[in-house]
Structure formats: structure tokens, C-alpha cells
Symmetry: C2
Subunit: 475 residues, 2 copies
């Protein structure tokens, strides 16, 4: 049987003079909370509501406004306090039509989706010869101006990985492809969807135009259509494509971050633990795994912590549902607006990588080796989550602005093996969500947040403290 | 070790006076052919060519004309003789646009595909309240005129089965739904796609309008969207849908059946074994499993039989690639045009249920019990195919017209467990084809056809002969 008090005394003796010194975490209560969370279906119900009743919700769009209203209503009904929206400016891109078809000897439609932020084609579309590249390096090797008047296509596939590294490596095709193509004289740009499945559903996502380069229309080809184009290109005859994209862009839109709190009590109530997810979602699907499950998980976790029998959190829990993760600076907007009170935020993280399960926990600084970290490891281990001594970094797109400003972060790594089968595509819908995995995510979040919200740990001090030697950590 | 000659003598003694009497099949050559077929990639290459270079190909469409030209070219190159097209009239339906979106409190797009043959909405679309039914019987229970001015939606799911029976049971939703809805006063009709997967890709397919009933626009909802609508309907508030379908119909189109032969030799050369598949395909995908694999399998099988070392077929093999299975009377057109020579066709079958594998063989009449049938069973058994005593019936949509006119048929049952995940949807593309399964299909067809084309069996007599008692069959 595990004896948290005895362990805490032993470790605190070791670390008595460091910032890691702390009182014993209440592991018994954390374990009870974890088990309660595993049996709780609040997150699954919230995911169903948001994806069903709202659906697509690009930041600043009418869909987003309904999502924000839903979130305010839901947070309020679940007992959150200080529920409000924090408005910020955002450009609102609206998809319009997207069609592509080969013309000539191999005439056939191809499934495409304009990249978020893409410019439109002329109203009658573009028709041009294709310049097909199997890989990104082959494309980059094309000389400036060598693609004059053509539509550049890059067909490099995305590798399936647990941690999303395959997506990271392929992402350059989407982010930088249009401007690199324009630099080479292309009139439009297509790339193989950043998807790991084989389907006809293209994956959208934001692109960025470089300064001083023509903003050419850009779209993702479905993985199956990319494979088709690769077979056609191998036949060696010229291929001509007709492309029509009619997106519009309103630079003067407004979105909101939705905030709700579980107030702390006593001496630590002024300290805030920020639980983030993003409420906006791409328009092709209903944003189930990206990121309704995140919204649902952090909301359900905060509520479960609030409901801990006999003792809520000492620190204040603040759920922030960001309103333009996909398309804009929601994280920056939040950090800027709340600049004066950021020092009160002692810990933050975001859930934005699907419905789980979680396989790894990372804590701020050297905390994994402290009693707090050992309690976290102990409490999460039955969920098949290991706690690594590696300090947490990169805890989410929206909380990056906090992290850059010195807010300590933790990171619970979701298994992303299947995430990019669905992500940003029409297939990101509620039916794909696994309720057991989602419950595990909620259990991990609530357990960790409970331990953090009830302990005396000084997270800011711990983040700047050095990692103790391995021998001293007892791991 | 199996001794075909000894067995044949024993059985032919038993059946000497019946129509089933026959010389011994050449099982050794059949087995060698089977093994050669398993290692042959002709069918996979043909599937790739047709789906890649042609793609969508509704009978009578420009895509179909390219498919027919491809087939003539390919059959000729593969050594078929008497390669030609047989033209027939067909109505040509062209999809146009298809869009559906909920308006109001739950505004969101829904993924739909017009049913083949559907009428168009007015150019500005239809907007109406939905009348949602969970099952077909609940829908049929709605009184005449009770759906006045509404869009009827039937959400019954299709059951996954190996033999396609789940599709058979659900098919009434697509075929009869529009007219049943019109009888009840509906202005449009939607049904849950006849798909067994959960996805955003709707499955099209032909519908039929009853005489004397309004021809209302009709579309299939993707399975995921049907599930979404079921969740929304359960909220109990009225749902309004905006529907736009812009198909067009040319009643005066022409399609062709493409024919090629492997001539027989000697006394039986006038007898024809007809190997069917259909060259046309729905427009949403590239017709890979429906039915490029069938086209490829029967073509490759006939060629493999022709190439049997030292001995081609005695009977003539005739490959017929039908040109409007999905939308028209290609089978009737063939039977009518060739009415004077149908008596020469002694055996026929069609491959039109995907890429396999085959799990069951059925033969004409009582042939399973005859030496011919026992040789077939012996030769197919290593492919994990059992030969059932049940006489073959329903050997394919296109050969039904032959079967009705007394042509004996055999049937090789393909495993359809996954077929309706893809069938008639945008996901029916080459990447889904399993080359090992397809090779097994070719092996089964070539083995059976070789045995049929080289034996003395009188298939027409066998089809009308009664089944011998079980004891006599040795099974």
C-alpha cells in the first residue's frame, strides 16, 4: 500500500531547501476523483452537443457565435462562475465553392478543399497545366520562374505517428507551399492533404502567404486523389486542371474567448490554473476531435474537481475556450488582454489533440521528481500514463502566448496515431469519438488538476529550479 | 492424391443414362491454371488503368465513351477476337450540383448525393421542414398527404452482411422512397445512404419513379449525416432544410456493350460461355470495386484460359462488358440484339460484387454432383471456395436477361462484407482494391471457366435435369 505522507516526508527532507519543498498531495482523494471521472459521461455529452447542435464554427463566423453562446450557457449550467466572453479582432475566411477537374484525355473531377486563408481563383476559375512533384524537396529544387503559368502540385505523404511528428514534418507543404509555388511562377498550388488515411475527404488548414509574393489560390487534394494524380503523372503525358475556389475574407471580424471559473478558496484562491481548449473548428466537419473533445474534457475535468466531496480546489480553475485557434491569434489576444494579471496564472495547459487516450504526462521544470510529481505519476499510472522527467514545453497553440510570458505549463500527450485520419476534414464528426478514451482523458486532467489545485507547490519557482540529479529523484 | 479419371468413371457409371454423363475434366491442367492465375497481375493492372485513366463513367456519358474505347483497345491488345461495341439507347442522367443545409437554430451543411435519375429541385432550391422517420415501416405508416409540403427523411441503417442481404433489405428506401414520399405529399425525399460504414461520403444509386406520382427530388444522406440528423431530430424542435439538386437528363443517349472473344476450336467452338461484368460506373468515385474489378477479373480470366499451354478452350469464351448496368437496360439490350443466337450461349455469369475473395460456387442445375461439379469443387477448394449443391440463380444484373431466356448460369459469390462501405460513393477508388483478393477471384473464374470450356458437359441439359439423390452425389 502506498503511503503518501511517509514518502512526502522523506523527499521533502531531501529537497527541504529547494523550491520543490511542499506538503503532501492528497493522493487518496485524487484516486477517488480519477475513478469517478472514468465513470462520468459529461465530456461525451458535451462533445455530442457541440458537434450536433452547432457543427462547423470558424472563429468569427455565425457558427462560432452559436458555439460561444452554447459554451456560456453550458458553463453556467455546470456551475462555473464569472462566465464571460472576451472579444478580439479576427479575419474571417469563408470557403465558398471548391472544385477541381482534370480536362482532356483523363478528364475527371478531383476532390480538393481550399486551404484556410487561400485567395480565390478568378470567378471563371483557372485552367493550366500541372507541374507535379512527388516530394517537397523535389518541389523546392525547381528553379525560380520555372513553373510559370502552371499549377504546382506536391504529393508527399504524411507519416502516421503517435506524437504528431509526421504531421509536423509534412506541415511545411501547407504553410509555405503557396508562396514557394508563387516564387517559381505558378498560378495556383495543390498539395496532398496532411492526412494519414486514404480517402476522398481533403484536409483543410491555414496557410500563410509570405510578404511580397503573389497570393495564389491554394488547396489540399484528398489523399486518394493525390495517389490518383501520381499514377496519372507517371503516364508521362501533360495534365491540365481546371480549378475553381471562391473563398471570401472579411478582415474586420470579431471572435471571442469564452471563460468560466471554479473559484478557489483560502490563501491560494488568487492563484489560477488555466485549462484551455479551442471552441472554433474548421468548416468541413463538425470539429469533433478538433477540438470539441478538448473543450468537453477540460470543462468536465474542472467540474469534477469542483465536485470533489468535502473539498473543492484551493486554487482557482479557469477554463478558457479559445475562439480562433485555427485561423487567428486567440492566444495572443488572451495574453494581451490579461497582461496585468498573468502573474496570477501559476499553471496552464491545453487539450487539443483528439479524444485520447493520453499516454504521457510532463510537468513544469523538475516537478516530476518532487512529491507532487510522484503523486501525479502514482495517480496517473493506472490510466497507462507515464510521467516523464522531461519538463513540459509546447503545451498547446493557444497557451503558447502564456508559456512565452513565463507561465508554467504541464502537458498531457494524447495518442495521435489516428488523429490525422480525420483532422480538418469532413470526417471529423461525433461518430468518430471514442467515449472510453475520452473518459480516460478527463480522468487524467481532473486528477492532475486536482493535485495541482490542492497542493502547496510553487509552480513558478519549480519551473525555474534546476532538475535534481537522477539518483535524488528516486525514479 | 486425387484421381480424376477413376472418379469420373465411377460417377459416369452411376449417371450414364442422364444428361449429366460426360468425359473426365482435366483437373491437372485446371490446377496449373489456378496457380498461374494467382501469380498473375493482369487484373490488378487493368483495374488500375480503367479507374485511373478513365475514372467516372455513367453509361452514355463522355466518360463511358472513353471507357469503351479503352476496353476495345485493351481487349484487342490482349488477343481477343471479334472485338466490337454493340450500341443501344439509354437515358443519360448527369448529376450537376447537390447541396443540403439545415437552416435556423442548428444551421449546418449536410452531405448528400442525388439519387441516380432524380429530378432537379427548382434552380433556387427547396426549403421546407423535415419529417424524419427512423425506419422504413414508420415512414410507410404515415398517412397519405400527411407530409404535405415537407421533406421526408428515412434514417434506417443498412446491415453489414457477407452476401449483400443487408443491402437487399434496405434497397427499398432508395428505389421506392421518392414515390412513397410523393404519395404522402412530400416535396423532396432523403434517405440514409445504403452504406455500412460511418462516413461523410453519400452513396448514390438509381431510384425509380412510380407512374402517376409526382417525381420529387431525391438524395442519399451520408451515414454520418444521417446519424447527425437523428440526434438533432431527438431534440424535438422543428428542422428546416434547404436542398439544391441540379441534375439533368438526356432521354436520347447511346451507350454500348463491349464484346471480345476467345474463339473455341473443334466441335464445341460454336458454343459460347459468356463472362460478364459492367464497364459503366457511378460518377462519384472511379468505379473500382463497382465494377472495374469485375471487368478486369473476367477479362484476365478469359485470357488466362486462352493461354493454357497446349490447349485453349474448346468452347468460345465471350467477354461482354455491359454499358449501363447502373442506369439502364444493358442486359436486355444485349439479349434482344442477340436473340437469334442466344441458344449458342451454354453458360453465363457476371462478376459484379467487388474485389473478392470468392467464398462459394454455385453451378447450373444438378452439376455440383456430377464429375464436372466435383472437379470444380476440387479445383476451387484450395482457394477457400466451397461448391454448394444449390443450383445457381441470380448470376448478375446484366445476365438476368439471359437467365430468364433459359441460358444456364453459374455464380461465384464474392465476400461483400466491406462492399457497401464503398459502393456507389466517392470512396470507390483504386486504392481500396486488394490485389491478393482480386487474384483469387481471377483464379476462381479462370479455373471454373477452363473446366467448363474444355469439358463435354451439356450445360443446358444439366440445368433442366433433376438433382440426383444426396447418396449418389458422393458429397
Amino acid at each position: 500500500m502506498f503511503k503518501p505522507f511517509a514518502l512526502a516526508v522523506a523527499v521533502s527532507t531531501l529537497l527541504a531547501t529547494s523550491a520543490l519543498a511542499q506538503a503532501a498531495p492528497d493522493l487518496t482523494a485524487a484516486v477517488a476523483l480519477r475513478e469517478r471521472a472514468l465513470a462520468d459521461d459529461t465530456a461525451y455529452a458535451l462533445t455530442r452537443e457541440l458537434t450536433t447542435e452547432v457543427g462547423p464554427r470558424i472563429g468569427g463566423s455565425p457558427g462560432y457565435r452559436r458555439a460561444a453562446a452554447w459554451a456560456v450557457r453550458r458553463l453556467t449550467a455546470l456551475g462555473f462562475r464569472n462566465v464571460h466572453e472576451e472579444e478580439f479582432p479576427v479575419g474571417v475566411w469563408t470557403r465558398g465553392e471548391g472544385r477541381a477537374e482534370l480536362v482532356g484525355a483523363y478528364a475527371q473531377p478531383l476532390a480538393v478543399a481550399a486551404l484556410g486563408g487561400s485567395a480565390a481563383t478568378p470567378p471563371q476559375g483557372i485552367e493550366a497545366e500541372l507541374a507535379v512533384f512527388r516530394t517537397w524537396p523535389e518541389f523546392l529544387a525547381a528553379a525560380p520562374d520555372s513553373l510559370r503559368g502552371r499549377i504546382a502540385v506536391v504529393l508527399q505523404p504524411t507519416t502516421r505517428t503517435q506524437d504528431g511528428s509526421g504531421y509536423g514534418a509534412a506541415g511545411v507543404m501547407r504553410r509555405e507551399g503557396p508562396s514557394e509555388a508563387a516564387r517559381r511562377g505558378a498560378v495556383a498550388y495543390l498539395h496532398r492533404s496532411l492526412g494519414t488515411e486514404m480517402s476522398r475527404a481533403p484536409h483543410t488548414g491555414s496557410t500563410r502567404y509570405a510578404e511580397g509574393v503573389a497570393r495564389i489560390p491554394a488547396a489540399a487534394l484528398s489523399t486518394a486523389d493525390a495517389a490518383q494524380l501520381e499514377r496519372l503523372a507517371a503516364l508521362g503525358r501533360p495534365l491540365r486542371l481546371r480549378l475553381l475556389l471562391t473563398p471570401t475574407f472579411d478582415p474586420n471580424g470579431r471572435s471571442t474567448n469564452v471563460v468560466g471559473e471554479i473559484p478557489g478558496r483560502g490563501r491560494l484562491a488568487d492563484e489560477v490554473i488555466l485549462l484551455a481548449a479551442h471552441l472554433d473548428a474548421w468548416d468541413l466537419g463538425t470539429g469533433a476531435i478538433d477540438d470539441a473533445t478538448g473543450v468537453a474534457a477540460v470543462t468536465a475535468a474542472a467540474r469534477l474537481v469542483a465536485q470533489t466531496p468535502g473539498r473543492g480546489p484551493r486554487r482557482t480553475l479557469r477554463v478558457v475556450l479559445y475562439g480562433a485557434e485555427e485561423t487567428g491569434p486567440a492566444g495572443e489576444a488572451y495574453a494581451t488582454r490579461n497582461a496585468d494579471s498573468l502573474s496570477r496564472i501559476v499553471l496552464a495547459s491545453e487539450s487539443d489533440f483528439g479524444d485520447g487516450p493520453i499516454w504521457r504526462a510532463r510537468l513544469p521544470g523538475a516537478l516530476a521528481a518532487a512529491p507532487f510529481g510522484r503523486a501525479v505519476a502514482q495517480a496517473l499510472s493506472p490510466l497507462r500514463i507515464f510521467t516523464t522527467p522531461e519538463p513540459a514545453r509546447g503545451a498547446g497553440v493557444d497557451v503558447a502566448a502564456l508559456e512565452q510570458r513565463g507561465v508554467p505549463v504541464f502537458a498531457l500527450s494524447l495518442d495521435g496515431s489516428d488523429y490525422f485520419d480525420l483532422h480538418h476534414s469532413a470526417e471529423d464528426t461525433f461518430d468518430k469519438v471514442n467515449p472510453q478514451d475520452l473518459a480516460q482523458v478527463v480522468a487524467a486532467w481532473s486528477t492532475l488538476v486536482f493535485l495541482a489545485a490542492t497542493s502547496e507547490v510553487d509552480f513558478r519557482a519549480a519551473t525555474t529550479a534546476s532538475v535534481p540529479p537522477a539518483g535524488g529523484s528516486g525514479r
